[in-house]
Symmetry: C2
């Protein structure tokens, strides 16, 4: 994927947000910002935005070693989402089409854009879910996904954010109880702390490990970007016959892949809308599949 210039100011904003969550020391903040700007100024020599992201995060790690800027935030977000689990499960059980409602709940977990500076609260989350559940999805894609899930042997479900992982768990439990035939689901988290993305720690906190096998991408990156992923992840990927990919980062990383991939996400910026060739607009909640095989 080429580097979109529109992503560069966001990389700077993310770097600044990350360091400011770790320290109030202006000298350290200034140092991280200065070095991030210098790194980003070489953007045209990079192959991919994820390498820029990595180099900028490495600057922050060097200044504040072993720190996970979003640790407290992620734990809070997971707990707020877990509090909603029973209500959401009831909503699915009482609906006319459990698969569709389960999928919508799963999608709604991607609908809050916490990275753009919103403070999280149960009220904000409920509003985001409500508005997400009201959006119309492409019925033929829902049907296709259901069909593929029922036929699949090895489903690789690549997660995105903390909090959102709770919604993924609700959907995956529904699939296991009512829609999977002989297929198996493996859930993928990030290989280390990266923004507010779900890691093994989040998976264990929300109990995803009690439901399915969990692996990591092997990379502390907000996307399953192959050149930085582990051999183990690549093997699971190769052996899967259906991939479910949550969120923007995974879409950016996987969009050119020749495989059966369903992308579930809320479109949060114009770069992603452009990547999807203008079929959707910013704030849309979508299921996309490339249907390449």
């Amino acid at each position: 994927m080429r580097i979109y210039t529109d992503c560069i100011p966001c990389q700077i904003r993310q770097a600044l947000n990350s360091i400011k969550m770790l320290t109030k020391d202006e000298k350290l903040i200034n140092e991280a910002l200065k070095k991030s700007l210098e790194t980003a100024s070489n953007f045209s020599s990079y192959e991919n935005i994820f390498f820029i992201y990595k180099d900028i995060q490495d600057i922050i790690k060097k200044i504040m070693p072993d720190a996970d800027p979003y640790k407290v935030f992620k734990e809070q977000f997971n707990r707020i989402c877990m509090n909603l689990t029973d209500d959401l499960k009831r909503l699915i059980q009482n609906s006319n089409d459990k698969f569709e409602m389960g999928l919508k709940v799963c999608l709604s977990g991607n609908s809050i854009d916490v990275m753009q500076g919103q403070k999280i609260s149960e009220e904000l989350l409920k509003r985001a879910i409500d508005s997400s559940l009201k959006q119309k999805l492409d019925n033929s894609k829902i049907k296709l996904l259901k069909d593929k899930i029922q036929k699949a042997k090895n489903i690789l479900f690549i997660g995105d954010n903390s909090g959102e992982i709770v919604f993924d768990k609700i959907f995956i439990e529904l699939l296991k109880n009512e829609f999977l035939k002989s297929g198996k689901i493996t859930y993928v988290v990030r290989g280390g702390p990266t923004l507010n993305d779900a890691t093994m720690e989040d998976a264990v906190l929300v109990g995803m490990d009690k439901v399915v096998e969990i692996i990591t991408t092997g990379a502390a990156l907000p996307a399953a970007y192959f050149p930085l992923c582990s051999e183990e992840f690549l093997k699971y990927y190769a052996n899967s016959d259906l991939v479910i990919s949550k969120g923007q980062g995974n879409l950016e990383a996987l969009i050119d892949e020749k495989k059966d991939i369903f992308f579930l996400l809320k479109i949060k910026c114009s770069v992603i809308a452009e990547l999807l060739q203008g079929r959707h607009k910013v704030d849309d909640i979508v299921i996309e599949s490339m249907n390449r095989n």
Copy 2:
């Protein structure tokens, strides 16, 4: 004013938006972005954010000489706002308190944040005005401003954006017709194209020159930042006994001034909320006066 690190990613975003409005040539866009990042990386050696802004805009001017990125946008925005003039004047004339309603209309002109990438339309503008008019203002400040306007000899009204200048004109006409006693208003526009800010061209387009005397700051900057303003502007400023300042940029430039200044603005970012010591939050529409004399 110290430089807030939070302003740096916005400077990069603005630079990118500006160059992309001028050209589709990726080489030129990349060059402008690279140089803007390099310039911004020296932020801690700058005295003020406006010098950073100036240096970054100079980069764009060097790459695309004599071009005003927002020219077309500004003209469209002015015309959309002019279309609403009769309705807004009627609203004021039919209200119980014409001064308050006129002031609210004037403030509502600052309520759309076009610099954050929203596309402008009459519908969007109407919604922004409606929501702005519904916000509660500090009654004691309204009364104080009215009182000061009635007593003032030389009012300096420092404008902000194109489009918004139409709303300023409606308020200024109301003041001239019903509230000014012996006082005179001078309206200030920017000294040259700078973002979507109003310049002499906009003032003439909307007919502000038919209503009051117009001067410029002498600087192509989105704020009346004294170290870069003309002698003429500074003389008018010194001779004024009341200043009305619209928008965030002017607030940033004038906040530490020892003079009777009323700041009218919508708060669009956390830096400005912080500058006002947390008395308001982002998205509030406010009248602030420092009451220093």
